[in-house]
């Protein structure tokens, strides 16, 4: 059996080193092509008429004038007369024209009459008694819960308590399994009570989920020595990808479509377009070289991806481009669900955590959404959670890096930090004391906490919360996080040609995370040749399928399939070369561009000479992940990290400035230390951005987003970035775990760490992110009044 295991530290050339991103030169020179840059001959330009109302019915559509405008090639009704519209900005009519100004003119010439309906865009605490018990669950509800990463235990108890509206067929169950439904959920669905009549029940705005209970929270609270209560929350924010969503589609003949699309999911797009376009997935060719940001919002072709292909068909198959305008991008193409909670936590005087109770609510738009996994990281022995999902008209939610975890971190770590303050304990001591509640991760958290404290200079910087403040004040705060990150399914083909050239094809995508670089690191390390000697081809449905880049699953998937392919290709090459070196294949090794007999440098061939022994035909092997026939498992699940923030607050203005952040993170075997660190730096920066600035602000009167542009939907800029320190946990205890994803974990903790630092600085909790001056001043004012 070939040895697929990751090489140990002494036998690595590139793995785990600081390797420069291979696609950086094309990106810095403007040569990298993104979907938005693709410009096939005869390109037509799409534009969309969007609904201005948050809730409305389409009464009539008149496109007659638009159709007659010279240069307009197609007018396509997306949601026609009688359609119910559930959020402002939803698509009504799409057009294609010879240039963009003409397409804009056509949109302006379309007359649509709407009947406005009552809307709700608030996600404020549900009015008392307004929440309706969750009824029997439809399969859509189950899908929403999976999308929102509702914890398994919570899903199972909801299914058991409320039943389902229809008995799921085995096909449906298989689909759910493919979507990631764990076995206990599938089991619960199989044995659930069926209430078919409930399927017709109109959905209400406030839906109460089943209460979760662990242990005996009432007893624990009544016996508690110290109890802290507080209100915490995170609003809806948007993804704001710099390259907006969109695609270019053309019909290359009657029943074949070629699509360039900005996607995190190259291999999965054709399957989603096939049914609506009524052609087999095999007839849909999808391509993407580079993507300008996704962050969880680009897995589907979306309605606009489908109608772009449809208006191409109506335009004699000519290529049509539709990329969302910035306001549309912010309104409809991605929002992270909000989460708020009233939390009560209890501990003994020595800081030992005993009980948790939370009453949480939040919105994921029309789908409602699930409860974040609270209490987060710390499994407090006695717990009760009640959650109300708000269905409203703010637009659909999408997965946003580490779905539900940043919210869970704020709701949990801020509540625990307030408890530590009440106990007059240093949070390092308080969290340290309760690390046994993190179970399997206890030891690595303990190491990470020590390193983070050292790098932050926590001992010197931490002080008890001040009673009174005077002048500009500083404070420090911390948070813990966790994530899975097991590698997804990934196939690749590696070919060695008789002339020594090597190519690797994989239907994956590089989101800017360093995927290309890491695949090449693994293949080059295994084959003992330079990274430049391998031609890597990704981003196309002509290559073997590889999973969508979500949930930090890419690096584990692509590195594992690339490793297996490279080991098999290397060993197949050895078998061909061995006779000419007068050796057995297993005696050979390849290093530094040479194939030689181990321990005998006199018997050596250059890589090129060795490959010439292949004869006339190239050698191609398929690498797969997972592949139980080729052990060991090269990826793993479960990482952790500790982050600390230091802030400065001006009590006169309420302005918060982050002065320093520290991220200590583990993710198993690091493939490229340089791009891994960049991932953490980027996550800290994105975290500063959502902690201080980001919020999708909805106007309750019109139901529209008030800040659908980049002036008032603020992102952190270079001047907001403080000293940042990133420390990756590597070596013994980490490397042997295999490769685990890193995209989500470091973006989880900044909100909680920064909020805790502000509380430490000003002596009072600012309940909700973002920590804007008005919120800071209000919190201080309320403290003074109290």
């Amino acid at each position: 059996m070939p040895d697929y295991a990751w090489p140990d530290a002494e036998h690595r050339t590139f793995i785990g080193k600081r390797v420069t991103r291979v696609d950086a030169p094309v990106k810095v020179s403007g040569q990298a092509k993104y979907t938005y840059d693709v410009h096939p001959p005869g390109l037509l330009y799409g534009k969309v008429l969007r609904c201005p109302y948050a809730h409305a019915k389409v009464v009539s559509i008149d496109t007659s004038v638009a159709e007659k405008i010279p240069g307009v090639k197609a007018v396509h009704i997306v949601q026609g007369q009688g359609s119910n519209i559930h959020w402002a900005g939803d698509e009504i009519v799409a057009v294609a024209a010879v240039d963009e100004p003409t397409a804009e003119d056509a949109i302006r010439a379309i007359k649509v009459k709407f009947q406005q309906l009552p809307h709700l865009v608030s996600d404020a605490e549900p009015p008392k008694g307004s929440a309706q018990e969750q009824g029997p669950l439809s399969m859509d509800n189950i899908g929403d819960m999976l999308d929102n990463q509702v914890p398994t235990r919570q899903m199972v108890s909801n299914i058991q308590q409320y039943g389902v509206t229809e008995k799921p067929s085995e096909d449906v169950l298989k689909e759910l399994k493919d979507d990631g439904a764990p076995d206990p959920v599938l089991e619960a669905l199989r044995s659930a009570t069926v209430h078919p009549e409930a399927g017709n029940r109109p959905p209400t705005n406030y839906q109460k989920a089943a209460t979760q209970t662990v242990g005996d929270p009432d007893k624990a609270f009544s016996e508690a020595e110290v109890v802290s209560e507080g209100l915490y929350g995170v609003p809806v924010i948007t993804h704001c990808c710099l390259e907006s969503h969109g695609s270019i589609s053309e019909w290359t003949d009657q029943d074949h479509v070629f699509t360039h699309i900005s996607t995190q999911n190259v291999s999965g797009i054709a399957g989603q377009m096939a049914e609506p376009l009524k052609i087999p997935a095999t007839n849909i060719h999808v391509h993407q070289d580079n993507i300008g940001g996704g962050f969880g919002s680009k897995f589907s072709p979306d309605r606009w991806g489908i109608f772009t292909a449809e208006i191409s068909k109506k335009s004699d198959g000519k290529p049509v481009r539709y990329m969302l305008e910035r306001d549309a991008e912010l309104k409809v193409a991605g929002a992270r669900p909000s989460a708020y909670a009233r939390v009560k936590v209890a501990a003994q005087k020595d800081g030992t955590l005993t009980a948790w109770q939370s009453n949480s609510w939040g919105t994921g738009g029309p789908g409602g959404g699930g409860m974040p996994p609270i209490p987060y990281v710390f499994s407090i022995p006695n717990q009760r959670q009640e959650h109300t999902a708000i269905r409203n008209n703010i637009g659909p939610a999408r997965a946003w890096r580490a779905p539900n975890h940043p919210q869970a971190a704020v709701l949990t770590m801020c509540a625990l930090d307030d408890l530590a303050a009440k106990l007059k304990m240093d949070p390092v001591e308080f969290f340290g004391k309760n690390l046994n509640l993190t179970k399997a991760r206890e030891n690595s958290y303990r190491d990470e906490l020590a390193i983070a404290s050292e790098l932050m200079g926590w001992k010197e910087k931490w002080h008890p919360r001040p009673e009174k403040i005077d002048g500009i004040v500083r404070g420090v705060g911390m948070s813990f996080h966790t994530w899975g990150g097991r590698g997804h399914a990934s196939d690749c083909d590696l070919t060695i040609h008789p002339d020594g050239s090597v190519e690797l094809k994989m239907g994956t995508q590089d989101l800017g995370t360093g995927t290309r670089t890491c695949i090449l690191i693994v293949a080059a390390d295994t084959l003992g040749i330079p990274m430049e000697a391998i031609q890597l081809l990704i981003g196309d449905t002509n290559y073997p399928p590889s999973g969508g880049s979500g949930g930090s699953t890419t690096i584990g998937g692509v590195s594992s399939s690339a490793r297996r392919a490279a080991v098999d290709a290397r060993d197949a090459l050895f078998a061909k070369v061995a006779p000419s070196l007068n050796a057995q294949p297993e005696q050979l090794e390849c290093r530094k561009g040479q194939v030689s007999v181990k321990g005998d440098s006199s018997r050596t061939l250059s890589w090129k000479e060795a490959c010439s022994k292949l004869g006339a035909m190239p050698l191609t092997v398929r690498g797969k992940n997972p592949d139980r026939s080729k052990p060991p498992d090269l990826t793993n699940s479960g990482v952790g990290g500790v982050q600390m923030a230091e802030v400065e607050v001006d009590p006169e203005t309420g302005i918060v400035k982050v002065k320093k952040m520290v991220a200590v993170q583990d993710c198993g075997l690091v493939v490229d230390l340089k791009t891994a660190e960049s991932q953490c730096y980027g996550a800290l920066i994105m975290g500063i951005s959502y902690s201080l600035y980001e919020e999708k602000v909805m106007d309750p009167t019109t139901g529209r987003m008030l800040n659908a542009d980049m002036e008032f939907y603020r992102l952190a800029g270079l001047s907001d970035i403080p000293e940042l320190i990133v420390h990756m946990m590597t070596g013994k205890g980490y490397d042997e775990r295999g490769v685990i994803g890193l995209g989500e974990p470091p973006v989880i903790s900044p909100g909680a760490a920064i909020s805790n630092a502000v509380a430490n600085a000003i002596g009072v909790r600012v309940p909700f992110l973002p920590l804007t001056p008005d919120r800071v001043l209000t919190a201080m004012e309320q403290k003074r009044g109290a």
Binding site: G30, E100, E243, I291, G292, M686, L718
Partner: protein, 212 residues
């Protein structure tokens, strides 16, 4: 400073062969009530007692100098310089992101000055030396700013990167020895979503030390 007229814009009034509109011309035209015929090329219209050139509606012939090469196109006067670069000439390094001068992803140089190409009309970009990120590389060799971006891992998805590179080049040309405060302030006109500022800041600080 002494002006011949009470309005400094008067002195810069565009002639008919230097297309583009001054603010004053625009104010005059906006009060014209006669229908403007569908013609290419400027039409002289009498407004507020003066002859002023009017372009559009409809396409007007335009000429550009981009990265040292001349380009011609017929474009509507409402087309931005960014869209002309990207859709007409397929020079796609500058990116369209916010489309209203908020993010800097479309930063180019116009007569060596950094501008947001989304907020310049193509018609105003004529007869000016336009430099885009594509021309910074010389003989297959990256510009020092680009090289520093590569080495300091200052790009992730890369969509903001071309605009940032151009901004950084212009910034360092004007401030060869910036302080860290200068860098914070001077590079605040570009936004990144992946969070590459740490790498960018390091790249620029290293270049500043070298006095690039």
């Amino acid at each position: 400073m002494h002006d011949d007229t009470d309005d400094p814009l008067e002195a810069q009034k565009d002639s008919s062969d230097n297309s583009g509109l001054s603010r004053r011309d625009f104010l005059k035209i906006s009060s014209i009530s006669v229908a403007v015929p569908f013609v290419a090329g400027p039409k002289m219209v009498r407004a507020a007692g003066e002859e002023v050139p009017v372009h559009g509606p409809g396409k007007a012939p335009m000429e550009f100098s981009i990265n040292g090469k001349s380009y011609k196109a017929e474009l509507e006067p409402r087309v931005t310089l960014l869209d002309a670069l990207r859709d007409e000439f397929e020079i796609t390094g500058a990116k369209r992101v916010c489309d209203r001068a908020e993010c800097g992803a479309c930063t180019i140089l116009m007569d060596n000055k950094p501008v947001y190409a989304c907020s310049v009309l193509a018609i105003e970009g004529q007869h000016k030396a336009i430099t885009t990120v594509e021309s910074l590389m010389q003989d297959g060799k990256l510009h020092p700013v680009q090289q520093a971006f590569v080495e300091n891992d200052a790009s992730q998805c890369g969509f903001c990167t071309p605009g940032f590179v151009v901004s950084c080049k212009a910034f360092l040309d004007a401030h060869p020895h910036p302080t860290s405060e200068d860098i914070r302030r001077g590079l605040s006109g570009n936004l990144c979503r992946c969070g590459t500022y740490a790498g960018i800041r390091q790249a620029i600080a290293l270049l500043a030390q070298k006095g690039a």
